[in-house]
């Protein structure tokens, strides 16, 4: 049995120790946020926060977690209501198929917790590990901007280079 802490709750799961966290989250804990996109750490659809850092859960054997704290999309609520990022994505209608969105929200969460006033370039570079195939990039950026403002910060524009 392996113990892990997800969204503030401890769980015990009966899985092979080399099972990547992604499959445990989805199949054993019935959490839909993190998704299988590639299983190779290349697309970010499985992004979760481990001790506040964004990582690909498809690369993380669950036995290696130890006491580290895992947070998923489902853990980004505030008092039972969607947190600023999920709310902003909803308000901006920032999704087409939406498959990449959970990963985007979690990765953006890590940025805004660490840097409440990033520049536009910093946001883009920070989100670079996450792929979107539908081309929802512009709305995702608007949603992050909106969430940053809701969280008391904001996204700074940097003047274009001549």
């Amino acid at each position: 049995m392996i113990t892990l802490t997800v969204n503030g709750q401890a769980h015990q799961v009966d899985v092979d120790p080399d099972t990547p966290l992604l499959y445990v989250l989805r199949n054993d804990l019935a959490l839909n946020g993190a998704k299988f996109g590639c299983g190779l750490g290349q697309c970010g659809a499985c992004t979760v926060l481990i001790d506040d850092k964004p990582v690909c859960s498809c690369l993380m054997p669950v036995s290696a977690l130890g006491a580290r704290r895992v947070r998923t999309l489902e853990g980004l609520h505030a008092d039972g209501r969607p947190g600023p990022l999920p709310a902003a994505f909803e308000a901006e209608q920032a999704a087409q198929c939406g498959y990449c969105i959970a990963g985007m929200i979690v990765r953006a969460q890590a940025l805004l917790e660490h840097n409440p006033r990033p520049t536009e370039e910093e946001v883009r570079n920070h989100l670079a590990p996450n792929l979107c195939r539908c081309g929802t990039h512009m709305r995702i950026l608007r949603a992050v901007r909106r969430a940053a403002e809701a969280m008391g910060g904001g996204v700074r524009d940097v003047a274009e280079q001549p």
């Binding site: 899985v15 092979d16 080399d18 099972t19 990547p20 499959y23 989805r26 199949n27 019935a30 959490l31 839909n32 946020g33 998704k35 299988f36 996109g37 590639c38 299983g39 190779l40 290349q42 697309c43 659809a45 998923t72 999309l73 489902e74 609520h77 969607p82 999920p86 994505f89 909803e90 209608q93 999704a95 087409q96 198929c97 939406g98 498959y99 990449c100 969105i101 959970a102 929200i105 370039e121 946001v123 883009r124 570079n125 989100l127 670079a128 996450n130 792929l131 979107c132 195939r133 539908c134 081309g135 929802t136 990039h137 512009m138 709305r139 950026l141 274009e160």
Partner: protein, 745 residues
């Protein structure tokens, strides 16, 4: 004459009389009706195929189309909510399900709003008329004294009755009547920004995809194949894998191989163990690493696309020629295809994100030797598919795996490299254009396009990968071209410009070096890129502004408006001479010359050292007829622009002699955030009461062309072969040295 004694009284008599009247006239009306009804309704004319009203007033609306992430769940709900009318929250929309919904073929070709939207609009108008009549009868007043509002019938003097109660005295098992008047006045739902119904679950972790399904006792499976289309696994000893912990079954039928396990990771480990056996090429080697030349050279059937009359060009006209091309492209869905299948005594259920549940059912029936009515295919959303990807194949894989463990639901998902390796690609294409320029007038125009088929969507077992792995294998169906006016490789090959003496020929290449099928836009992306690039090249030769040059040939008023709105908003008049690395370009098309109109203006900056293209600004205008969900249209156009930028600036599926080398995101990179445009603005032109036109594929061609034209403006060199990758841009910009290189000394 007094009414016969009837225990139910006068009401029932009249209601029965109505039903009888309908029944009697049905036969006579039916043929007439079928001719005048929109196509989807004509195939399923009964109202209750589309709309049912529950006793509690909840409305169930059925559509044969599927939500692909393009927002039609919400848009169709809006249509029904608007026309009935009921609050949208009172509607449950059931999407493609062979057990419950009409057969609307495949959700593709930007047809959903046109076909299903129009059918639901009409059906809802029919239902409202019946409910109005029922209310009029009940209140004993004229129908025009009734206001239908918020799911209830209201009289002027304040009486009301809900639809639920009204409907219980009514049968909707009646055929739709064509040309029912639309609702007039009252609060609009069509044209409003109704928040998408599927987004809340997607941003909070609610179940939203077939990949999220969890059924009791569900097992996990993986299919085992070589790395890509054209390869096969070497013979493998399955005994070792059968003994791996958690492995329930290794399914082997002919060349089909799958493993079923109690946990997903165990299925993956077993998969890797089986794949360690190695693979080999199953068909003759591929000729090259980029197959567009191969396709251009293969035997082809000549099919005329269009022929516009006009006098021959004068002898002193200038001839201008250009050749454009694109490589094979990948759908590259973010979530690899997935299906859940379960065999029970009474048949097989498959939960699938296939775009066509009915054709899939037919193919599965063929494969599994079952009667179609023993198979139910239920659409559950997958990740964006952008056409025919692995969805149908994985459904068959899941069905075969599940057959080995009857009673248990089996979830089978493709791995990333399986999706990359086996999905049918968008065909490589070559377009050769020639025109005669008489001063600044186009006096002749020739368009020739070479392509494989743009659809191998399965309707028989031979169209499924698993079908071809059976022993004996089902024959792959002969590829066919899609006829015009829709077209496949010829799609949008017929220019919307009113050109004289213009002819187009489609060279349909039947032989497919690699597996191909429908990719969003089909041939339109290539044809529009070619035509719009060529118009720019002609404009340059004629020393005319590219937009003004086009407008001279554009007669369609709605087309002209879209062009004008986009270019004005963009500030096209400020376009300078270019050539210093910054440029502005424009592209326009009406998708299929039947669907949405879309114009795209784009600003680019080309880094002449690295060949990277930056896109600071894009402005687009779109006319989709009556805009049911304007923000949804905007979303689709923005997305189509960005997706097209990815295709056009960096994508090309790679091959070597034996297999696809584009096996994952590292080998087939797509656009990431740092390369996304600086700003994208989309203006949606609403045309109230005009037919709904699909917007999902309208932007790809114009955006690709706008990019190519902007790059040409920026660097003074015309690139005609997609992708306009950094390598190709650098190569195009590299000056030819006057003397052999002395650089290395």
């Amino acid at each position: 004459m007094s009414a016969p004694r009837n225990p139910l009284g006068r009401r029932a008599f009249v209601a029965n009389a109505l039903v009888v009247t309908f029944a009697l006239s049905r036969g006579a009306l039916a043929q007439d009706t079928a001719r005048k009804l929109p196509p989807s309704l004509a195939k399923a004319p009964q109202l209750d195929s589309w709309i049912r009203v529950g006793a509690d007033g909840r409305i169930t609306v059925f559509t044969g189309k599927a939500e692909l992430g393009q927002g039609i769940r919400t848009a169709l709900t809006q249509i029904a909510a608007h026309e009935l009318p009921v609050p949208p929250a009172q509607i449950d929309l059931i999407t493609a399900d062979t057990g419950r919904t009409p057969d609307e073929g495949v959700t593709a070709g930007s047809h959903s709003m046109q076909d299903s939207g129009t059918a639901i609009l009409n059906a809802a108008a029919n239902v409202r008329a019946l409910l109005t009549d029922a209310a009029a009868w009940r209140f004993a007043i004229a129908a025009d004294q009734i206001e239908m509002r918020d799911g209830a019938a209201h009289t002027l003097d304040g009486r009301s009755v809900g639809y639920g109660e009204l409907a219980s005295a009514l049968s909707l098992q009646v055929p739709a009547r064509p040309d029912m008047p639309r609702r007039q006045g009252g609060k609009a739902v069509i044209g409003q920004k109704l928040p998408r119904l599927d987004i809340p679950a997607k941003v909070t972790g609610g179940p939203a995809y077939v990949q999220d399904m969890r059924l009791p006792s569900m097992l996990h499976a993986r299919v085992v194949r070589g790395p890509s289309d054209g390869t096969k696994l070497k013979p493998v000893d399955i005994a070792v894998v059968e003994k791996m912990p958690g492995v329930v079954k290794v399914v082997r039928e002919g060349a089909f191989l799958a493993v079923v396990a109690d946990q997903e990771w165990r299925a993956i480990k077993a998969l890797h163990r089986l794949q360690a056996a190695g693979w080999e090429r199953a068909t003759p080697p591929l000729a090259a690493s980029d197959l567009r030349e191969t396709i251009r050279q293969l035997p082809a059937e000549e099919m005329p696309i269009f022929d516009y009359p006009g006098p021959p060009a004068p002898a002193d006209a200038r001839t201008i020629r250009a050749r454009y091309s694109r490589p094979h492209l990948m759908h590259a869905s973010i979530g690899p295809s997935c299906a859940v299948a379960q065999w029970a005594d009474d048949g097989l259920t498959v939960w699938t994100h296939s775009q066509g549940v009915y054709p899939l059912r037919k193919s599965l029936a063929d494969l599994l030797k079952l009667e179609p009515d023993k198979i139910r295919c239920i659409h559950v959303e997958g990740s964006g598919c952008y056409g025919h990807n692995g969805a149908d194949d994985v459904a068959a894989d899941a069905a075969l795996a599940a057959r080995a463990v009857p009673g248990k639901p089996v979830r089978l998902q493709w791995m990333r490299e399986q999706e990359h390796g086996w999905e049918p690609l968008g065909s490589a294409m070559v377009v050769e254009l020639a025109a005669e320029l008489d001063g600044d007038r186009i006096a002749a125009w020739r368009h020739e396009v070479w392509s494989n088929t743009h659809s191998t969507r399965p309707s028989t077992a031979g169209g499924l990968l698993a079908g071809r792995e059976m022993d004996p294998p089902f024959a792959a169906p002969k590829p066919r071209p899609i006829p015009m006016p829709e077209g496949g490789g010829a799609r949008n090959g017929n220019p919307i410009y009113a050109l004289p003496n213009a002819r187009g020929v489609f060279h349909f290449v039947e032989q497919m070096p690699v597996r191909v099928s429908a990719l969003r836009g089909l041939g339109a992306q290539m044809n529009v890129f070619a035509i719009e690039s060529f118009m720019d090249e002609l404009a340059l030769a004629a020393e005319a502004d590219p937009v003004a040059f086009r407008l001279a040939w554009l007669k369609d008023e709605r087309a002209r408006e879209v062009v004008q709105r986009a270019t004005e908003r963009f500030g096209w008049s400020k376009r300078g001479a270019g050539g210093d690395g910054s440029g502005m370009g424009f592209g326009f098309a009406r998708y299929k010359n039947l669907a949405s109109y879309c114009a795209v203006a784009m600003e680019v900056r080309v880094d002449q050292d690295t060949g990277e293209i930056h896109v600071p600004r894009v402005v687009a205008a779109v006319d989709s007829g009556e805009a049911v969900a304007p923000d949804g249209i905007r979303n689709q156009i923005e997305g189509g622009i960005v997706q097209s930028l990815s295709w056009t600036t960096r994508e090309a599926v790679g091959f070597d002699r034996t297999h696809r080398t584009s096996f994952d995101w590292s080998a087939y990179p797509i656009l990431r955030f740092p390369a996304a445009p600086g700003r994208v603005e989309v203006e949606v032109i609403d045309r109230p009461r005009q037919p709904f036109l699909g917007a999902g594929e309208a932007a790809q061609g114009p955006a690709a062309a706008a990019l190519g034209n902007a790059v040409a403006h920026a660097v003074g060199v015309r690139l005609r072969d997609m992708p306009l990758s950094p390598e190709r841009v650098r190569a195009a910009l590299r000056p030819v040295p006057a003397a052999p290189s002395q650089a290395a000394g």
